[in-house]
Each structure stands twice: as structure tokens, then as C-alpha cells.
Symmetry: C2
Subunit: 374 residues, 2 copies
Amino acid sequence: MDGVGIVTTRFYEWSQCLHLESGAHLGPLTIAYETYGELNAAGNNAILVLHALTGNAHIAGRNFPDERYPGWWDPLVGPGRALDTRRYFIVCANVLGSCYGTTGPASINPATGKPYGMDFPAITIRDMVRAQKILLDYLGVKRLVAAIGGSMGGMQVLEWGFLYPQMLDAIIPIATCGRTTPMQIAFHHVQREAIYADPDWQGGNYYGTAGPRRGLALARQIGIITYKSDPSWNMKFGRNLVDPRKYFQLEGQFEVESYLAYQGRKLVDRFDANSYLYLTKAVDLHDVSQGRGNYNEVWRDFPCPCLGIGISSDFLFPPYQVQEIVRMINDSGGHARYAEIDSPYGHDAFLIEFNQLAAIIQPFLKELRPDLAA
Amino acid sequence: MDGVGIVTTRFYEWSQCLHLESGAHLGPLTIAYETYGELNAAGNNAILVLHALTGNAHIAGRNFPDERYPGWWDPLVGPGRALDTRRYFIVCANVLGSCYGTTGPASINPATGKPYGMDFPAITIRDMVRAQKILLDYLGVKRLVAAIGGSMGGMQVLEWGFLYPQMLDAIIPIATCGRTTPMQIAFHHVQREAIYADPDWQGGNYYGTAGPRRGLALARQIGIITYKSDPSWNMKFGRNLVDPRKYFQLEGQFEVESYLAYQGRKLVDRFDANSYLYLTKAVDLHDVSQGRGNYNEVWRDFPCPCLGIGISSDFLFPPYQVQEIVRMINDSGGHARYAEIDSPYGHDAFLIEFNQLAAIIQPFLKELRPDLAA
């Protein structure tokens, strides 16, 4: 059989309150997740996959037979694939603050009986990781072969290494950084502004209405630009026009423009604008040195082996940022190595270049845990 | 005396109609301009400076004694400076479609007695150049030592080389391209969308009201990000916070965010939103091969010597784009050379790195026209 077939998204209801990094409390929590493969008796063959900004727990297979596309990392997950379900128990959970089943701003606030909206507390990458730890405890996972993910997922990977190193054989951060840069924050800032500026956002109390469709679509369009690259746009669109007869009209469009508009509309149909605000903010707050001391020194005695993966054409998370993590871990006496995806696709390459990812990840995982036979 | 002192913006009223590249006609025209130095008797010592998207004709000196800042290229223009006013007659005109005195969407449409708004015809880089030619004819300029400018200014420089080569000793395009790429178009697209999405834009008929302040400010903020660079943001702001007590609040801001907001507000106070739409569109339509044949072949017999200047850290107009122009001119039998500004400041470096610009431009100009003594 190819791939993992039909999978079901499950929901773990946790009746307690999570103490957030901000000091606030949030609970009870629902955590949406999917698993693939079987947990072994020792509970030590799990791999945790962490998703990016608008991602979800559905990384592989289909939730129903005629689902149009399989999960977002499908080519990497399944029998014989890099994340081999004959060998590993794969887990992915929708992050805290998102809108794919895990508690977020669109969830009902038990204190009011209405959606949280902007009463949802600010959450951080560490909060996401703590929620995942609660889920893994529930699932009986004692040890992770690896935590792996790209972009915001890679930030969670790093925080896993700081918060629960004793539980990990290794971390695999991809196309990410140890702390977000002002340029990344700037790009998120304008995306949030696009949502805030939409009158239909209504201070975040738009549930039951259409909501800030235009603002969220614009935010997404800005985001999409940062996930691509100059060469990938050139290859895909060049200067092709939608309608050459409208060349000299303000409303005339190049194909790249109608593509962006399409991508904007597509996100609006599947994502919550307030979640977009909270998750981009969580990314902006990401800094592994926050509350831990000097950024250059926190990697001292970082106990997790690390395989950092960069993307050659990524201008949002340039390769130097992953290289920097690897260098600082090694300079601090740890064990890290670097691999690079050679791709014209920019930041998005971690969702595209499956063959290169598999060739980098698969041997590393086997080397880590030769005891886990298929 | 330092610099050019007090200068006056002048206005040339041209009573005819300009035949635009689109086929439309526009007129009468007002062209706002400034000049520095004296035109010689032969009318052949002029240098034309072309400004960028939100620029204007005021490149040097002050328009009134206590004007806070001098013109935008002041360190390059004056007695003994790279554009030496003892030697050259320097001209800069506000481009067609802008809002600094030259006819644009905010100007009165003689057919209606009201501002053009979106009835203003689409204009192109070539239309801007043709309007400049009308002004130079009026001023008695027979020959340009050079046309020089960065970004959108560099596009006009290239079109000068194509449209009026017999009038030029050389062209100096800076941080620009022979045709805009889909990534550049994409960034302009989201900026225009930000304006269109603002209800106060009112289909462009906002004159007499506050207008789309929030939309234009957002457009500017997006633009500003593309004019800077990852290293320049790091140097300037790092992860500094406006108010550390608001760290865990959605409305808490990093300094880079309040800087962007400030830059957005600043542009709103000085620029017209419809001009922003028309000028970004003109840039998107920029393609020196439009109507002239194959992009790689139009440089054949390009008769103008060319000094192309790139900026090392520019990700909006990467250095390869200027290098490409230089290579194609040389491959076609022309005479071009390349110089690079080594700077962390990104696209903006052509408005910052005056010493490097002077060191590149000054000897080139002297070599071009040794007959012009100071």
C-alpha cells in the first residue's frame, strides 16, 4: 500500500489549565492530533512533527477517501518513507492558538460562552510545546526519536530541545531561527496590520459574520511573497499577463497578481483571522534566549544532537540562521550538523523538496536509533 | 559655500497633449522641476537626475531657509560635488503621475473641473521620459552628459537610452532592472491592494476628504521593508521593544514595528494614494523590450555608454539585474561597465551611500566629457 491511507484527526480534551509563559492560564484545552504507525511497548519510537503557521495536524494520508490532497508532508510519511510508519510512531498536533481543532481564539471561552476573540491570551512557542507534551504524556510516549518541523515548526523543535531534552534523541529544525529577526517581525507586522485595518475585523468580534476576508487575504498574499523566491516567481510566471488587452489599465493584472489573489482567497476559506494574529505574534516573540540569558550562551550544554536544515534560496529564513544554530551548539560543546536543501523554491521548499528532505532525514534517523527495526 | 543653497521649484506649463504609450492623450501638462548650475552656451553640459517612486524634483539645497532637510541627493549635488554645479547644469523633474507639482491623478481634469482620480490614464516609464524631453527642449538643453537615477529613476535612465540615445553621452542606471520581475510586481500588488481595500479610498474619489490614510500607510510600510535589508534591520533595531511591559500582549510592539508605523504615517502626510497606484503600476509595466522585440536582443547596437551600479544587499533589485543589463549591452557590441555599492542598507543604499556613489560617478563623468572644466 502506498502511504498511510485513511487517517482520522483525534481530539484530546484536557480538563486542566495550562500555565502560559505570559503568566495567564488557559483551559480546559482541546488538542487536535493525528498519529501514524504504532507506539512500541517501551514508548520510545515516537517522532513528533511540528507544523508551520497555517498548517495543521493532518500531515499524511487522507481524512476521507475523496479528499483532494493528502496531508502536507505525505511523501515523507508512510511505510518505507523517511518517517517510516513501520518503524516509528508519528504524531502531529495542531498548535495552541490555531483553528484546526486545538483551542484558539475562535474556541468558546468557558467564562463567557462566546468565542474568545481578542480575549484569548497571547501564546508563545513554548506554550505550544507544553501543550504537545501534555498530549504525548496522554499517548504514553516516553521518548521521541526526534522532533522535526520547518519554519514555526522548527521553532517548536528548538524549544523541545530546551524544555524536554531528556526526552529526545535529536532535534531536526528546518528553515527556522533561534530568534526571529526584525525583518521577519516587520513582515508579520504588515500582515497583522492588513487584518486590523479591515473594518470587518470588528476588534476581533467577527464570529457569526463573514469576518475580515479582505484583510486576511491581503495578509496571506504578503506572506506568500515571503515564502517564495525571485527565481521561483520567474520560473512560474515571468511577466505573463492575465489579459493582454488590459495591459494599459490599472486593473490589468500580471499572472503573479491573480495567483496571489487566489492564494489569499484560499486561505480565507480555511483559516481564522484571529488565529493568524496570535500565531504570527507567537513567532515574533520566539527567542530561545528569552528568560534564559545571553543568546550566544544558552546553547551551552545543549544536550540534544541536532540536524539543522537550511534552504538555499530562502530569504525569509536565510540559511545563515540555521547555520548559526548549528555553529553555536557545536561551539558550546554539543553535537550538531548542517544540511542544505538546494532549491529555487524559497522558504516553501520544505513543503516541496521531499526527495532532498528524505535523503537528509532518513539516514540520520536510522543512525540515531539503529535498534528500531522496520 | 557648501551645497547649492536656496533653490526654487519651477513649473513648466505645456499647453499641448502628450500622446501616451497606451494610446491615450494627456494635456495640458504641468511639469515641476528644479535646476542647479548653469547651462552652457552649447546647451551640452546638462545632467538629468531621475527620481524614484515617492521622490520629487527637489534633489539638493533647501526650498526655504529653515527647511528641515535638504533635497534627497544633496551630498552629491553642488560646487565640487560629484554632480558639480560649477561644471554641469543639473535638472530634475517630478515625474508624470506624481503629486509634487507635475500633472497626476490629483490634478484637475480640464474636462470635468475636478481631480482626475481614477480617470487619469495609465502612464508608463516612457511617458515620464517623453515629458522630461519636453521640459529639456523648453530649457534649451541640446545634450545630456548623463541621465542618472536609482530604482524607478534607473528605469527612466534606461528608457532615455532607448528613446533619445543621440542626445546622451552616457546613462547611469542604479539599483534597477531592464524589466520588473514577478517578485517586484508581487510586492507592488499587495501595496496597491492595501490602498484599494481601504474604504476611505472611495474608488479614488477621495479628494476633499481625508482619503485612504490607513491603506496608504500600510502600502508604504510594505514598501519600506523591501527597501531595507536583513542586516540593516538587525543593526538598527535588533529585537528591541517599545515597551517591555507589553511583551506578552498582542498590541505590544517591537521597535521595528513602531518605526514602520511612523514611516507609514510620514508618507501619508506627503503623498497622494492615487499617485502611489499609478506609479507602482508604471514600474510594473516597465520592460525595455515592450514593443521592441526580444528582451535579450533589444540591447543590440545600444548606442549609449552605460555605467550600471548595483547594491550588494539589495533584495528588491538584486545586483544581478544591473549586471545583466551591463552584460547584455557588452554582448551586443556596446560599451557598459559595472560598479557595486558595498552596503548593508539594501535598496535604500542609493539614498544613503553618498561617498561610494561619488567615488563611482565623479571620475566616470570627468572621463566622459573632459571638455567641461569647472
